[in-house]
Symmetry: C2
């Protein structure tokens, strides 16, 4: 009787679900911001949030709180709802990753992709397989793994050779590399890699004595054939259909709602297809993203809306969920962890480095590719959990795989950053603190304004205020420093100054700095740079001018009621807004 | 053992979840677009999608498909995950509704709000209570309802007097009325109304013999006290804290990710609080939205990103879910439906009309308010389900309540539209079809171009092409029709023409229409208007000029490769983009 369908979630379950989501999102965002503060990818903090909120830390201090928030029982409705939400989050995340993929770049890098993914799979697989087949007891096979050494060894080989597409994609986005050639190479190699990994896992399951997974899995040949057919259809016919449908929807449906819904429906549909084929749902969503995102008809704003919501709402919840189920301390087996880490790291990075070199890339790019591909996050964990459930591997090995996945995830971003010597584009918001801002300048003439700013400059640099004032005034006489649009940049190059410093003053009535457009300066930036550093002055001057070139930000800064609000305006500049 | 935590969702469950979400989102979006086509609010189509996909239609044709997609068993993991997602959707929807509330408007309309919500609750409550207390058997009380006539009667009174905040808010947004004074009056009255309703329901549960709901509910006094405290704290201290925190987050966290996460966390937290107090989670999210949205510090783009994603992704899924569980045919009790509909409709609209008149509103506004408040959607259904579970009401009455809720939801939008004689702002995209566009004009002179457009104009209007050409050319001699930015609007007023018509031609090389800025016209619009209709020509001319005033749309239209793409550009204009 349909009407009788009872509510599946009690108010207590719903409360729990809401609290769990709020905590996951809140803590992962907090740690993500902290990671950013230390110039690390946000995803690092998001994954650590899960370790904090899981059995490792929260469970140690308050097992009751952990059990209430994230119950162990797989039949607990609040937990099922949360798990469902996490699966949807991962699916939408991969959709966004797919939307970023530019097939023409992938095609252009076909050779490099083939080398990197082939070598990146072969080497760790061989090492892992050999280790597991040779000394299964050292890694800790599960009951069925001991009985079936071949599937066990194949599984270990796969687990150690798979790249975590969602994590590395997020790392690349965080580092602003996702659309670069290097980023595309890593993403397409990881994608090939994932495909091989999932198919390999299907083979392992088929090799196991049947009924280990409850239901009989689809035959391996069927899974592989259907997956390849799905892939081929989506990249050709599916892509073509999306290209044809998008302009229609964009011209006749409400905008951007119509496109947003269309993209989501295609992604969910493809996710269902791959999930039912025995390949995880995230793979289908990724392919859907590739098929849709390649269309020049997809508007940037649609992409942006999906991107913002997914990376800021769904993704942190997914990443935090990774560490939620595992106690990293009690199941810690140092030998297994060391072996797994060594094989995964050396095998993967070594293989990919070799592959990249074989494809003709230079040393630095090859190293960056290798470090990027080393990232083995969520997918390894999902596979590990499934293998553990199937009795293929023991707890110690599961924890080792997860620790390996987390470590390599944490390693990839910083390592790539170091190898590529990435300098993140400097933003005023990153160097200006409350102390660098005078929100209400009292002065009404340029010389008084310079003296007023110099006092703060002296506090910040330890130099004498008079020296600063005099040097800046001398310079002012030689050349006017008023810029158009109400800006002025008096400056002083000082011996004895260690590093550059800037003080920004605001005057709502304005101060006449003799600008070309005749308008008074409302924002005056006193630049102090070391005598010897020729570039610093130009860099900071142009940074200041560039930031306030935007009329919206200029007006916002003028209207700000506090230093904090002033900085909020600076924070807007240079975002992809 | 934490590590042992099994996966709570099998691949089959995940497949089901993905398919269910895709189907719900896809069909509700399709029907939503269809509703828009018929000038109805999109929410109407979204609710109907659920009726189609539920037992009423899909279940009739294929019970197996229904059971697979939306299983009845409350223990089915796929269903639990879907239900959880729906709860989260409803919560986020109410957050968005709350973000739209402007407290100063609410305060300004305090008197009207008090009258409307008081009368709007009192009249239907008295009617419903009287009916249920007098003739419970005609409405169909449940087993416990028969044993406890007083709580039963109170419940019926409440169910018939509650306004559906999410539905009416969406209707108001669809009609572009959400931020108007009238919209604010309706939203604030509905909000008061909801508050009273939930508290009243808590009273009913407390009056019932205990243990009907499994766990002992919180004492009524506690629920009411805590709810009012929560409300007071959020509107004062919570609001102040949000105002203080927002600039901090906007100045120091990544943007807009930081704010998005902050807003979501606050909403989920408040949802958890109200849910645990026995008031539904959506109420807390709504209050959170009010507290945050009132801040002038919240940037329009953050609001917009949340709004787009929630109204286009989460909301359709929620609205479609309403009709999913109920077979409207087999449980149809004509008498109960008629009684409930009559009382709900007459009581609610009558009460609100009286209240609005008492507050000094004019007849038309009062009627619009009454029709808006009549909307009794989701909340009534949620209450109904809880009451049914508690054995308070029978199936027939539940179906009657749901039908009443759906009917009034469907009625509100069109009725308000009719009463207010709303003319939706005309957009070029709404009147231009493929036949009105010549994407590749061959002509290179104004007179040839006019003749070329006149041929299509003749096909569309049935007039002779020569007549059109000649009239337009005569007009052209009297006054040049070239506008700046590459536009031209030759026009002809014709006797015998029934209604206005426009043909838009595109010339990539450009045609010299002697515009003031000396630039050739790339977009030429031939306007044909009836001789007698003085306004039409001006209206259409300004519509054309306004649409292509946007440089982005102009360039997009010039770059469009087909008529469909050209229309996609038109569709961008006049959206809140």
């Amino acid at each position: 009787m349909q009407t009788l369908a009872a509510a599946s979630l009690s108010p207590a379950d719903i409360t729990r679900l809401m609290v769990a989501l709020a905590v996951l999102l809140g803590i992962s965002r907090l740690l993500g911001e902290l990671a950013r503060r230390f110039k690390q990818p946000a995803v690092l903090g998001e994954i650590l949030a899960g370790v904090l909120l899981g059995p490792t830390v929260l469970g140690y201090f308050s097992p009751e709180a952990l059990e209430w928030l994230f119950p162990v029982s797989a039949a607990q409705p609040g937990r099922i709802a949360l798990d469902g939400f996490v699966v949807i989050s991962a699916t939408l995340l991969l959709l966004v990753v797919g939307l970023e993929v530019d097939l023409s770049t992938v095609r252009r890098q076909g050779k490099a992709t083939a080398y990197v993914s082939l070598m990146g799979v072969a080497l760790p697989f061989i090492l892992g397989f050999g280790l597991a087949y040779g000394i299964p007891e050292m890694l800790g096979a599960g009951p069925r793994g001991q009985a079936a050494p071949l599937p066990f060894a194949i599984f270990v080989g796969i687990a150690l050779s798979i790249t975590a597409l969602p994590v590395i994609a997020k790392v690349l986005m965080d580092l602003n590399l996702a659309k670069s050639d290097l980023g595309m190479l890593i993403i397409s190699s990881a994608m090939l890699n994932d495909l091989v990994g999932w198919i390999g896992f299907a083979v392992v399951l088929a090799l196991l004595p049947s009924d280990t997974l409850g239901a009989a899995p689809m035959s391996v040949v069927t899974t592989i054939t259907l997956t390849l057919i799905f892939l081929a259809v989506m990249i050709t016919l599916g892509r073509w259909l999306c290209h044809k449908t998008l302009p229609y929807i964009q011209s006749r449906w409400s905008w951007p709602g119509g496109v947003l819904a269309f993209v989501s429906v295609v992604a969910l549909g493809c996710a269902a297809i791959t999930e039912s084929l025995g390949i995880h749902s995230i793979f289908g969503a990724f392919i859907a993203g590739v098929a849709i995102g390649d269309s020049p008809r997809l508007r940037e704003r649609t992409r942006e809306t999906i991107h913002q919501f997914v990376t800021n709402f769904f993704a942190p919840i997914f990443f935090a969920s990774i560490g939620l189920r595992i106690n990293f301390i009690s199941n810690f087996d140092p030998l297994a962890v060391a072996l797994v880490l060594a094989v995964a790291f050396l095998g993967k990075s070594g293989g990919c480095y070799l592959g990249a070199k074989m494809a003709g890339m230079n040393r630095r790019e090859s190293l960056a590719t290798a470090f990027g591909m080393t990232c083995q996050g969520a997918v390894g964990i999902i596979l590990g959990q499934m293998a553990f459930k199937a009795g293929l591997i023991g707890e110690g090995l599961l924890v080792a795989v997860v620790i390996m996945a987390l470590t390599t995830s944490l390693f990839s971003g910083p390592a790539m950053q170091a190898v590529l010597k990435l300098k993140t584009q400097l933003r005023l918001a990153d160097i200006v603190t409350d102390r660098h801002i005078l929100i209400h300048m009292k002065s009404v003439t340029p010389s008084k304004a310079i003296a007023e700013l110099a006092v703060r400059g002296a506090e910040l640099t330890g130099l004498a205020p008079d020296l600063i004032t005099q040097t800046a005034l001398d310079r002012e006489k030689a050349m006017r420093t008023g810029l158009p649009d109400g800006l002025a940049v008096p400056h002083a190059r000082l011996t004895g100054l260690k590093k550059p410093c800037m003080v920004i003053g605001r005057s709502v009535p304005g101060i006449d700095f003799d600008a070309q457009d005749g308008r008074p300066a409302h924002l005056v930036c006193l630049l102090l740079t070391p005598e010897s550093d020729h570039d610093a002055q130009i860099d900071l001057l142009s940074l200041f001018a560039r930031t306030f070139q935007d009329a919206g930000i200029r007006q916002g800064a003028l209207a700000a009621e506090s230093t904090t609000e002033f900085r909020a305006e600076l924070n807007l500049a240079g975002t992809d807004a």
